[in-house]
């Protein structure tokens, strides 16, 4: 279980916020209370018993996208402030203090194993003796079934033996909202279902799910008996093996078209998958890659990290708009995260997922 490391939290609390220029929340809101050190100070003072949890305090401490933008310039190698803030606020729930707006989603999670309610978009596909289990994640299932169809289509084209199952939430939202017991239950159920498939590789296009499988499940004593792969790496592997050939001309476009890739925070900063999605994009004929002002490990969040948009929709939108301003004009935006697609899309910009674009160009 994640425990607050008070020494690390105080390192941040005693620092003058040398990272704040990379915190999308404080840059969007201008509130000192939501600057990285501001949140760390509040969390530390509560942890030390000088302050008590209240809705106001929780609202400030939870104003974090878990994007790890604050780590870009952080001088403390072992500090992951996003995790420290998350761990620090888990006890708030026991004090009867909860985040704004999340109770209906938490109830959905308890009842339907998805924060979005009854699952309507489940796509169950099964080859015999599948090698690969594809985990789509609640957000793709609820909001973008086209990306699931695209992933399945690519796997069919590549001749991969795979399965997609009736999914339960990975558990991350439950942890983020302070219900660790529920998070562990979901993890336990997932482990059982994953094991039953007999697949040896789990591929997910959702960075949040990938992160929780890798970084939380072992601590919840639910280490998965499968190799966990991120979508960009897996699909690139299929291209490199010659099983996918992105050589179709887009019938609706000219010979050359410009695309900007929005690096999802987790893929870029936690998984360090910077080159993989770009190599996929460059393999598409006629595609010209144009980088936004901030990219790679220096990427900036779309506002959709850590279920943030469910509690703070206005701030999430403001962050998405700031991010959109960083893209060059006359380009299509592609990303590899259902939350990023959703966050940027809701602010009026057409955004595709990487698998959707790749499928469009593969035989």
């Amino acid at each position: 279980m994640g425990q607050v490391n008070m020494e690390q939290l105080l390192n941040c609390a005693y620092c003058p916020n040398m990272c704040r220029n990379e915190c999308p929340v404080v840059q969007a809101l201008g509130r000192e209370a939501v600057a990285p050190s501001g949140k760390a100070r509040t969390a530390a003072l509560i942890g030390q018993g000088y302050l008590e949890w209240s809705e106001e305090m929780l609202e400030a401490v939870a104003n974090c996208l878990a994007c790890r933008g604050c780590t870009i310039h952080c001088p403390f190698d072992e500090l992951n402030l996003c995790d420290e803030l998350l761990f620090s606020r888990i006890p708030a729930r026991n004090k009867g203090v909860s985040l704004p707006g999340i109770e209906p989603y938490l109830n959905n999670l308890r009842k339907y194993s998805s924060p979005y309610g009854q699952k309507t978009g489940s796509v169950i596909k099964r080859h015999q003796d599948p090698e690969v289990l594809v985990f789509n994640g609640c957000t793709s299932l609820a909001n973008n079934p086209a990306s699931i169809e695209a992933a399945a289509s690519l796997l069919e084209k590549a001749g991969v033996s795979f399965c997609m199952i009736e999914e339960d939430c990975c558990g991350y939202p439950a942890e983020a909202w302070g219900d660790l017991e529920l998070a562990c239950q979901l993890a336990c159920e997932n482990k059982r279902k994953f094991t039953e498939t007999g697949a040896s590789i789990l591929v997910t296009n959702c960075p949040e799910c990938w992160s929780v499988f890798n970084n939380r499940y072992p601590g919840w004593e639910q280490t998965l008996p499968l190799q966990i792969m991120d979508g960009p790496s897996y699909f690139l592997q299929l291209i490199r093996e010659g099983r996918l050939k992105p050589d179709l001309e887009d019938p609706g476009a000219g010979n050359e078209f410009k695309v900007s890739y929005h690096d999802p925070c987790i893929w870029a900063r936690t998984a360090e998958k910077i080159d993989e999605p770009r190599e996929i994009l460059r393999s598409i004929p006629g595609l010209l890659l144009k980088e936004p002002a901030a990219f790679g490990t220096g990427t900036r969040c779309c506002g959709g990290g850590s279920m943030f948009q469910l509690s703070f929709p206005g701030t999430a939108s403001a962050i998405a708009r700031r991010r959109l301003d960083e893209f060059p004009g006359n380009t299509s935006i592609v990303t590899a995260c259902p939350f990023c697609r959703e966050g940027l899309l809701q602010n009026g910009y057409p955004v595709k997922e990487l698998v959707e674009l790749l499928d469009q160009y593969c035989k």
């Binding site: 005693y14 620092c15 990272c19 990379e22 509130r31 209370a33 600057a35 501001g38 400030a60």
Partner: protein
């Protein structure tokens, strides 16, 4: 605030009925969504990076709390808020990003804190005249990033670059690490837009120089929110440099390093970065050079031919003082680590009191001021370290930056006061000026009268004329209203 936390410096607070009246009217100016009396917001704006507040935080203490935080979006809103505050006699504390090192944003008398971070636009960039107009709440790193995208630099890189605002720089007369070439912020500030306590908005012309009496907009430089609020500035910019030359020289003696700098400044060179470390800091920052020599770190940048010529003159001057060329790698290391101040957080947790004290001297007393301040700091019981470097140089002298660490046990605040008293006494006895770029805030106000002599009376008269109700940032710049914090 929870009873669990105790305020230490709160001089007074505004009574509730007056505050409520102010809040109602302020909401009409900025909108209710831009006001907050949430505990989290009050707590977050009650302090800056003054080490004393960090000590207090570890003890669960608060310096003083505002009663309301307000976020204006434009100059006219600031004007409305200030005029209203003057009418209701409500204390006002301007707030940027809280990186100040001397308690300049502590709301000693409660009232309202005006957080300027929502005024963060680059209004225009003029490539022909090499000027930019920027609002005061913009974060320093984001300001530089926007300029870089357009092919320019602001030339201002304080160690707080990522955690300070343009307005904070102007209010405290800040200096960046590249100041020898680009100047301090007051050299870059061609014109300011500001609001006086009565709500008057005024703006200087963005022309090179004037001879029309004193530049009244420049009066706001270094005023630390005591005379009004700087809302925007027209600043100089430069094309991104074509060439960079990095080199480190080592000297056997600090005096030789100082003399070499004096010579190449006299010869007319203007390297962007000039940093001369004493042996102790050389050993700390560049262990491979050892702790028996003094490292001079230099970065020259600009047009290639000029850089080559400057590098050649500098080489001659340093060689004439027996310096050894230690190559570019130490400058590269410094560039990589120059914003890392992690050691401060770790030392605070181990019970240390750590502070930096920057002063400014002429060449004739540059070395003796270092010696005197070092001896004074070491002379205070519990001091473990007192080291120094020179980091901003001019034809007429240099800024001296002392770092001190002590482990005083329980009474950290008394120890803090003692080291400052010792350092300021030594500095003033040498005839040096007590601050180069950190400003005054609350704590350095204790020495403002000695620093300025009769000139301090002029400053007091200006304060009384512009802020007769004394609502603007009470207790700062040594301008009175302080009972609970003295030497």
């Amino acid at each position: 605030m929870d009873d669990l936390m105790q305020t230490v410096l709160q001089e007074s607070r505004v009574e509730q009925s007056r505050l409520e009246r102010y809040t109602r009217e302020a909401a009409l100016i900025v909108g209710e969504e831009n006001l907050s009396d949430s505990k989290a917001d009050l707590l977050a704006t009650c302090r800056d990076y003054w080490p004393v507040t960090t000590v207090w935080m570890g003890e669960g203490k608060i310096p003083a709390l505002p009663q309301l935080v307000v976020w204006p979006h434009k100059t006219e809103e600031v004007a409305g808020l200030l005029a209203l505050a003057e009418k209701e006699n409500i204390p006002v504390t301007p707030y940027g990003e809280g990186s100040g090192a001397l308690g300049g944003v502590i709301p000693l008398k409660g009232g309202i804190t005006i957080d300027l971070k929502k005024m963060n636009r680059v209004r225009w960039l003029d490539e022909k005249n090499l000027l930019v107009n920027v609002e005061s709440g913009l974060n320093g790193a984001l300001y530089e990033e926007q300029l870089n995208r357009a092919g320019y630099t602001g030339g201002h890189f304080p160690q707080s670059l990522r955690c300070s605002t343009v307005g904070g720089w102007l209010s405290c007369r800040a200096a960046g690490q590249f100041s020898t070439r680009y100047g301090k912020i007051e050299d870059m500030a061609v014109a300011l837009e500001a609001v006086l306590p009565d709500g008057t908005i005024f703006e200087g012309k963005g022309v090179p120089r004037t001879a029309t009496g004193p530049r009244v907009d420049h009066l706001m430089l270094g005023s630390e929110g005591t005379l009004g609020i700087i809302t925007a500035a027209t600043l100089r910019i430069w094309p991104l440099p074509e060439k960079r030359h990095l080199v480190t020289y080592t000297f056997d003696k600090l005096e030789d390093g100082l003399e070499a700098i004096r010579l190449f400044m006299r010869a007319g060179t203007r390297p962007a970065v000039v940093r001369l470390y004493d042996p102790q800091e050389t050993g700390n920052h560049f262990p491979e050079l050892g702790d028996q020599v003094c490292a001079l770190v230099l970065l020259v940048e600009g047009a290639q031919k000029i850089v080559e010529a400057e590098a050649s003159v500098i080489e001659d001057c340093t060689r004439s003082l027996g310096a050894k060329n230690a190559g570019p790698e130490h400058v590269e290391h410094w560039l990589e680590k120059r914003f890392n101040i992690s050691v401060a957080s770790m030392l605070f947790q181990k019970g240390a009191v750590l502070d930096t004290i920057e002063v400014t001297t002429n060449w004739h007393n540059a070395h003796s001021t270092y010696r005197a301040m070092q001896e004074a700091l070491i002379g205070v019981e519990s001091t473990m370290l007192a080291s120094g470097h020179y980091s901003h140089v001019y034809p007429e002298g240099a800024a001296l930056y002392m770092t001190t660490v002590g482990f005083p046990g329980e009474d950290k605040v008394s120890y803090y006061k003692k080291i400052w008293q010792a350092a300021m006494d030594a500095c003033l006895a040498q005839g040096a000026a007590i601050s180069h770029h950190h400003g005054v805030g609350l704590h350095r106000g204790n020495w403002m009268a000695e620093e300025h002599g009769a000139g301090f009376f002029v400053l007091q008269k200006i304060k009384s004329a512009l802020d007769p109700n004394r609502v603007m940032n009470p207790g700062k710049l040594g301008l009175g209203e302080v009972q609970k914090w003295a030497r």
